[in-house]
């Protein structure tokens, strides 16, 4: 896999949320507004890139790799938990509103399967450069997924899109013009499940369509031969 493929894989092909279905709990809980999704995304990217970098760096030293081998998961957790605590402290100090809004889900990044999964499956056996790219790719892919879900939920549930702080697009007028009302169901957990399900179904349909086209093309090739 070259660097470009490594970078692009997290967006669609191996998207952590839409394809691997990892990190669904915070994704469903915090996607009530775009602002939350962006805040969570930034925190997540920081933790993922930093943990991938540190873990890959540790494993690049043969002797150190052997030493931590029996307790590697514990070491990874200590590193990830420390990074998450740093994010939490910085957020509480500089972005208190976002900190209150995301609540316990910032701390829960520690036990997010994506972070530990990338550390064990990728960073521990690849170079530092590749691990950084993998972290950015997976982090951006997860953030993109959060953004998609949050836009749909906030728009249909509240008729608004909160970009950051007071910067908010109020589309209530459009709803009034179309004589439709917002559906608060979408701001609830059940609404989150429904949006995720619909997005997954759309992605699967596109994938199936592509596979079918590829099969047909192959069949046509064989017939020509």
């Amino acid at each position: 896999m070259n660097k470009k493929e490594n970078f692009l894989k997290g967006f669609i092909k191996e998207n952590p949320l839409f394809v691997l279905l990892l990190g669904t709990c915070p994704a469903l809980a915090i996607t009530t507004s775009l602002e939350n999704a962006l805040g969570m995304g930034v925190a997540f990217i920081f933790v993922l890139v930093m943990s991938n970098t540190i873990i890959s760096l540790i494993n690049s030293f043969k002797k150190l790799k052997e030493l931590i081998q029996p307790v590697r998961i514990a070491v990874y957790i200590v590193i990830i938990a420390s990074l998450v605590t740093i994010v939490e402290m910085l957020m509480q100090a500089y972005l208190p509103d976002l900190y209150n809004s995301l609540g316990v889900f910032i701390s829960l990044i520690t036990v997010n399967c994506i972070v530990l999964g990338r550390a064990e499956a990728y960073a521990s056996s690849n170079t530092v450069g590749d691990s950084v790219i993998d972290g950015i790719s997976m982090g951006l892919g997860y953030t993109l997924a959060l953004i998609i879900i949050s836009i749909v939920r906030e728009l249909l549930g509240n008729g608004t899109i909160t970009i950051w702080g007071d910067l908010q697009l109020n589309l209530q007028g459009v709803f009034d013009f179309l004589h439709i009302t917002t559906i608060s169901f979408f701001t609830s957990s059940a609404g989150a499940f429904m949006v995720l399900g619909i997005v997954l179904a759309i992605m699967q349909a596109i994938k199936n369509g592509k596979e079918e086209k590829a099969k047909e093309a192959e069949k046509a090739k064989k017939e020509v031969k």
Binding site: I79, M89, G103
Partner: protein, 172 residues
């Protein structure tokens, strides 16, 4: 045995490095967090206590060392003769999605003067702006719960109940 010791030592070294890293970050962020919290509490006190807001020179506000299990902090407003005229409580109660922290001021005649939600991450309804119809009331009879947020409303109700109940003891 030797391998186990080495493994334990390696883990301890990593924990120590991470601990050091955290203390450095904490050194920078702790004063900012403390300052913000203090500022937020001062603003809330100004909001809930009219007597003090209007007559800062005549009245004094003291953070009391009174401890109640249900209360985070107690502030007593005293006049120039040192008589207690009002009490302000910071109370926390478990809501639906988060812990709701409220500041409630109670006058000498045991009536709620005003209340403000200091922190809450509740997702349903706007708990921070809803009028619970408790201003000037000495009981919970007219408490107006927030529609669709039963658990959050129960937490707010509990805060008001605690404030009214404890004021009899603290404003003696």
């Amino acid at each position: 045995m030797k391998n186990n010791l080495i493994t334990g030592l390696v883990l301890s070294v990593f924990a120590l490095i991470c601990g050091l890293m955290l203390s450095v970050v904490n050194m920078f962020t702790a004063p900012i967090i403390e300052e913000r919290t203090e500022e937020k509490i001062n603003n809330s006190i100004m909001e809930v206590c009219e007597i003090y807001r209007e007559n800062k020179d005549t009245y004094t506000i003291d953070k009391e060392s009174i401890t109640h299990d249900e209360v985070d902090s107690v502030y007593l407003i005293k006049n120039e003769n040192g008589e207690k005229v009002e009490v302000i409580y910071i109370i926390s109660a478990k809501g639906y999605a988060s812990t709701i922290q409220m500041m409630v001021s109670v006058t000498k005649d045991h009536k709620i003067e005003k209340s403000v939600v200091i922190s809450s991450a509740e997702t349903k309804g706007n708990i921070k702006t809803h009028d619970f119809n408790m201003e000037g009331k000495d009981s919970l009879e007219d408490f107006d719960k927030l529609a669709g947020s039963t658990i959050s409303s129960k937490a707010v109700r509990k805060c008001f109940y605690t404030a009214l109940d404890l004021s009899y003891e603290d404003l003696k």
